[in-house]
């Protein structure tokens, strides 16, 4: 019964994820500073937006807003600097072969990053995403507490964020701080 529910859930969220995957992946290829600019604009919009609406589907609104900001900026910059918006044009690329290639690159990067995780964090991710186990089941399997499984998951994300993120050394804000 329980596993069934888990699977339904999982497929639910695969669906919602599929809808957002493409805009999210676009964001992923932004440099640290470009993404911070997008985040700043989204942040301002979030402050203005109606709370009741937001609370109903916070993630959907967040991703939509981010996608909109990127879209608007790409249009504006194409008018202003026709040759200076390569990354934005890249983001616009919607043709299937290109998207597939981007997908393969992402898989390859992810596989490499997974290899660099501590074995235990990798195992928790594998059980969760590869075998579709819920946290409680993972805890049972690894003979540990649910809390520690959750911790492993969070730490794994934090580490993947660093391993997969663009080079932080190129971050202008970090540069400024050393002045």
């Amino acid at each position: 019964m329980r596993t069934r529910a888990t699977h339904e859930l999982l497929s639910d969220w695969f669906q919602s994820f599929r809808r957002w995957r493409s805009p999210l992946r676009k964001l992923w290829y932004l440099s640290e500073s470009d993404l911070d600019d997008v985040a700043q604009e989204v942040f301002l919009r979030l402050l203005r937006y109606d709370s009741v609406e937001l609370i109903e589907h916070p993630q959907a609104y967040l991703f939509r807003m981010a996608a909109n900001v990127v879209g608007e900026w790409s249009m504006r910059s194409r008018h202003r600097h026709p040759h200076d918006a390569r990354w934005l044009d890249d983001l616009e690329a919607e043709s299937d072969p290109e998207r597939e290639a981007a997908g393969e690159t992402a898989h390859r990067q992810l596989r490499q990053a997974l290899g660099e995780l501590p074995p235990r964090q990798r195992e928790v991710l594998r059980l969760h995403f590869g075998e579709g186990l819920a946290r409680a089941q993972i805890a049972e399997r690894l003979k540990t507490s649910e809390r520690s499984v959750k911790r492993d998951l969070i730490n794994a994300y934090g580490r993947l964020r660093i391993l997969l993120g663009p080079d932080l050394a190129a971050d202008p804000e970090l540069r400024d701080r050393s002045e």
Partner: protein, 348 residues
């Protein structure tokens, strides 16, 4: 708190939110709390936008079956468990994959067992000796992983009662696989660190010993003041417990060790291939790069050497540091040989 620390913290919070929001039992008040959190800082928005795709990519990753399962002594048991009705495949097409997967897992298990036997057979003792610029990640027979830094020597000795590592110089990060029946001991000439299942770094620097805990808890025993003939831990000296994000520095003169709070991610970032500097002098940065790389950097004038730097670099990229310095300071760079970079202030 440092900009990068804040960023890292925000990323972990974002990860937690991603998980909470995907929980079917997420309540309206939790969603409201999430919106509030987003509205606290653009940094939260940015990290949420960074971490969410990771979740998506993990869910869409098609090669999970090729990721080897963790090698536990209970590997056999988990095969039996899955063949039961515990986790029915979502679609029919998946059952074929899962058979193949378990055959693969079984093969991997046997291979790992073989490696484990090789370790015990050929290397009852195993010595790792890294020179300048060398880094190494080793999986030990018990599944523990050791990241060994440059200019580091350690000796691994496992028997049926304990797992023992002698660190005679340098630094290493240990991710210890859990085994309550066999304590994991890291010994240096000044202190001995005992763990059961946790992650921590040990470094010998200028005769002092630095222990940093990233996960779990370890117990540190300081060696007796008079130089002992063996490296065996001193008898009847109190153990000091260290928790997450605590660091203990055992001074060379045998005086009482200090425990302080640190950001373990920053302290142990070298193991992930990063060097993190926060108001460290150019001289200190150069010293770190020179330890990790064959290419050596030399700083000519003391003024430049004393200049503070805050940034994150890839350990293996001294050129990036030089480029960075060139961007923020007025410097002159020369390459007298292939393995040497000399920098000095340009205005002299």
């Amino acid at each position: 708190m440092d900009y990068r620390d804040r960023r890292h913290r925000a990323a972990l919070e974002a990860a937690e939110w991603v998980m909470r929001l995907h929980d079917p039992k997420v309540t309206r008040s939790e969603r409201a709390e999430f919106v509030q959190w987003l509205r606290e800082s653009p940094l939260h928005v940015a990290e949420m936008l960074r971490v969410s795709p990771i979740h998506g990519e993990l869910a869409a990753f098609p090669y999970w079956s090729e990721i080897a399962p963790l090698d536990n002594s209970s590997a056999g048991a988990s095969v039996v468990e899955l063949s039961g009705a515990r986790a029915p495949p979502i679609k029919d097409s998946r059952s074929a994959v899962s058979v193949r997967f378990w055959l693969g897992a079984l093969a991997a298990g046997i291979a790992i067992l073989g490696i484990a036997l090789a370790y015990f057979g050929d290397f009852g003792y195993r010595t790792i000796d890294n020179g300048v610029g060398q880094r190494l990640t080793v999986t030990l027979a018990d599944g523990s992983v050791v990241r060994v830094g440059p200019e580091t020597t350690l000796r691994v000795h496992f028997n049926k009662n304990e797992r023992r590592v002698m660190l005679s110089r340098g630094e290493a990060l240990f991710r210890v696989s859990k085994d309550p029946t066999k304590p994991f001991l890291v010994e240096t000439h000044r202190a001995s660190v005992r763990a059961v299942g946790t992650a921590f770094g040990v470094e010998q620097r200028h005769d002092a010993v630095i222990v940093t805990v990233e996960e779990g808890r370890v117990a540190v025993t300081q060696a007796p003041t008079e130089p002992s003939r063996s490296i065996a831990p001193a008898p009847a000296i109190a153990e000091i417990a260290l928790d997450v994000d605590q660091q203990m520095i055992v001074p060379p003169d045998g005086s009482t060790a200090q425990v302080r709070k640190v950001d373990s991610h920053r302290e142990l970032a070298w193991a992930d291939g990063h060097l993190v500097f926060d108001h460290d002098s150019v001289a200190a940065v150069v010293q770190q790069f020179n330890r990790f790389n064959r290419v050596q950097i030399k700083v000519l004038d003391p003024q430049l050497a004393a200049r503070p730097v805050s940034a994150v670099f890839s350990v293996s990229d001294p050129e990036a540091f030089v480029t960075f310095l060139d961007a923020v300071a007025n410097i002159r760079v020369t390459h007298p040989s292939q393995d040497m970079i000399v920098i000095s202030s340009a205005n002299r």
